[in-house]
């Protein structure tokens, strides 16, 4: 019953988001072209680099393309479903967040899903199509592990957005925090293994960008050890619980100062 309520809430919000997009068609076209340009230009850069070097830290260029596609897959999932976080600061500084708290729906769910970004869907379709075409030959077991690891990626992605929302409540800073994550995430357009050890460790265990974007692709290339996957599982759960804890602390500290 509660699930149905949340589904209706999300559906209604998404329908409103779509209507807003359709009302400003030129904006939508410009955004779409920008998103496709960013995607295409990075692929073009990889192809240009291929003319001079045969591999990047042991990864072939075909593999790098798969890593980049999987980076885009999860990056787009985060943006399609959790775009609402980008507008959260206004709710905090204006005091409008109070209205969220009075509704019988989890405020965190309301914040994260207040806007569904349909403009990312065309690129998602392209990315999935390219992934299907470039999908490596893997066993059924590898496919299943990939699905399991992907669920963990979405869990960490959710946790990061929860942390950003919590920091927003505590400090009123949201845009820079979410963009900081996006900036860091760009490092995972290529496998994080290519970086020097301190950066690799930081991106895997502290801000788990590597777990979100690199590990699923590594599973496909049979380069993720079982022990590491177990650690990734524990880290993901731990990170999610930590984010929820910080969020609850932030809610307790919320003073509704601007309302």
């Amino acid at each position: 019953m509660r699930f149905k309520l949340y589904l209706i809430y999300w559906w209604k919000n998404s329908a409103l988001s779509l209507q807003a997009l359709l009302a400003s068609r030129l904006s939508s076209i410009l955004f779409l072209v920008g998103k496709f340009a960013r995607f295409g230009l990075f692929i073009g850069f990889l192809l240009a680099l291929k003319r001079s070097i045969t591999d990047l830290a042991g990864y072939s260029f075909d593999q790098l393309v798969v890593f980049f596609l999987i980076y885009n897959l999860f990056d787009l999932i985060g943006q399609i479903f959790y775009r609402g976080i980008y507008w959260f600061r206004y709710e905090i500084i204006s005091g409008d967040f109070d209205f969220r708290l009075t509704k019988p729906i989890n405020p965190l769910f309301q914040i994260l899903t207040s806007y569904t970004d349909f403009l990312d869907i065309p690129l998602l379709v392209l990315v999935v199509t390219m992934l299907v075409i470039n999908w490596p030959h893997v066993t059924l077991m590898q496919n299943l592990v990939f699905i399991a690891v992907s669920l963990l990626s979405v869990l960490i992605l959710t946790a990061i957005h929860i942390l950003v929302a919590a920091i927003g409540v505590l400090t009123t800073a949201v845009e820079h925090t979410i963009w900081m994550f996006r900036d860091l995430a760009t490092m995972a357009r290529v496998p994080v293994d290519i970086y020097v050890a301190p950066i690799r460790i930081f991106l895997t265990y502290f801000i788990p960008i590597g777990l979100i974007f690199t590990v699923p692709a590594k599973v496909l290339f049979n380069q993720a050890a079982s022990a590491f996957l177990l650690v990734a599982f524990l880290l993901s759960i731990g990170f999610y619980l930590f984010a929820l804890r910080v969020w609850r602390y932030a809610l307790r500290s919320y003073a509704s100062a601007s309302s």
């Binding site: 955004f31 850069f45 680099l49 001079s52 830290a57 820079h176 900036d183 020097v196």
Partner: protein
């Protein structure tokens, strides 16, 4: 104190009002630089030479390109001011809107430059990149002169893009700015030197304005151009600057006629 020096001072001060936001902005700038830097460090882990670049020359390029970006790019709010109707506040005052933003831009750039050097000092201390300096005084002069031209080019280009908001005030002009930002992210050469692209594509960049904002100024530092090529680069920059200047003036003149101060 003249009115524009007051604007300069206020622009400087306003950066320190929301200190936490300012710190986060600097951290973001540093992260985006480090993402590019570590990518190239990784590329050179198993390669001594990538195209015509050694490890030292490419890492120097990345650092110098960031220095150029600090001085060339800016982020003004003119689109939002047109869309919200706040432009009225300037139209009724005895200030030139272009000069006002130019002065604010100078204040922002000076602050960014100071922080760039602080961050660079930290990077030098921790990462010890193999940087080198131009051997000839002429390279320094060409480098600095091209940065000044590039800064003017971007200033007018940015104003031109924002002027689009007069006719399409949706989201404060952000949609077109987003598209231009996406293009500039790759096409200026901030992340990689443009001459690593195939020769036919690189030839196009000699005609387009993008590379003149970062790649060509940074190229002077690396002594990549000499003789007639130097003249050609400066001539092209002047032509693009004139084009941007002309269309910016035209767009603002026509834009102000259609401006309805919506939102006020």
């Amino acid at each position: 104190m003249s009115k524009y020096s007051q604007v300069f001072k206020l622009s400087w001060d306003s950066n320190f009002v929301y200190r936490f936001n300012f710190v986060l902005l600097r951290v973001r700038t540093l992260i985006s630089f480090l993402a590019i830097y570590f990518f190239w460090v990784a590329v050179f882990r198993h390669n001594n030479q990538v195209f015509d670049y050694s490890r030292a020359s490419l890492l120097t390029y990345v650092v110098v390109a960031r220095f150029v970006d600090t001085l060339v790019f800016n982020n003004n709010m003119t689109g939002e001011e047109i869309a919200s109707g706040n432009l009225n506040n300037y139209l009724i005052k005895p200030v030139s809107y272009l000069k006002y933003w130019f002065t604010r831009d100078l204040g922002d750039k000076l602050l960014s430059l100071i922080f760039f050097f602080i961050e660079l000092a930290l990077i030098m201390l921790i990462l010890r990149p193999p940087l080198f300096f131009p051997a000839f005084l002429s390279d320094w002069l060409l480098f600095l002169a091209s940065i000044v031209l590039a800064a003017f080019m971007y200033f007018y280009l940015n104003f031109l893009v924002n002027a689009f908001t007069f006719w399409y005030p949706e989201r404060g002009g952000w949609p077109l700015r987003f598209l231009v930002t996406m293009l500039l992210e790759f096409l200026t050469g901030g992340a990689f030197p443009l001459d690593i692209l195939p020769a036919q594509i690189y030839a196009w960049f000699k005609w387009l304005p993008f590379g003149y904002l970062t790649y060509f100024p940074a190229g002077f530092y690396l002594h990549k151009f000499a003789g007639f090529e130097v003249v050609r680069i400066f001539l092209t920059m002047f032509v693009w600057l004139a084009i941007f200047y002309f269309f910016t003036k035209l767009a603002w003149k026509k834009g102000l006629k259609v401006y309805g101060a919506y939102g006020r």
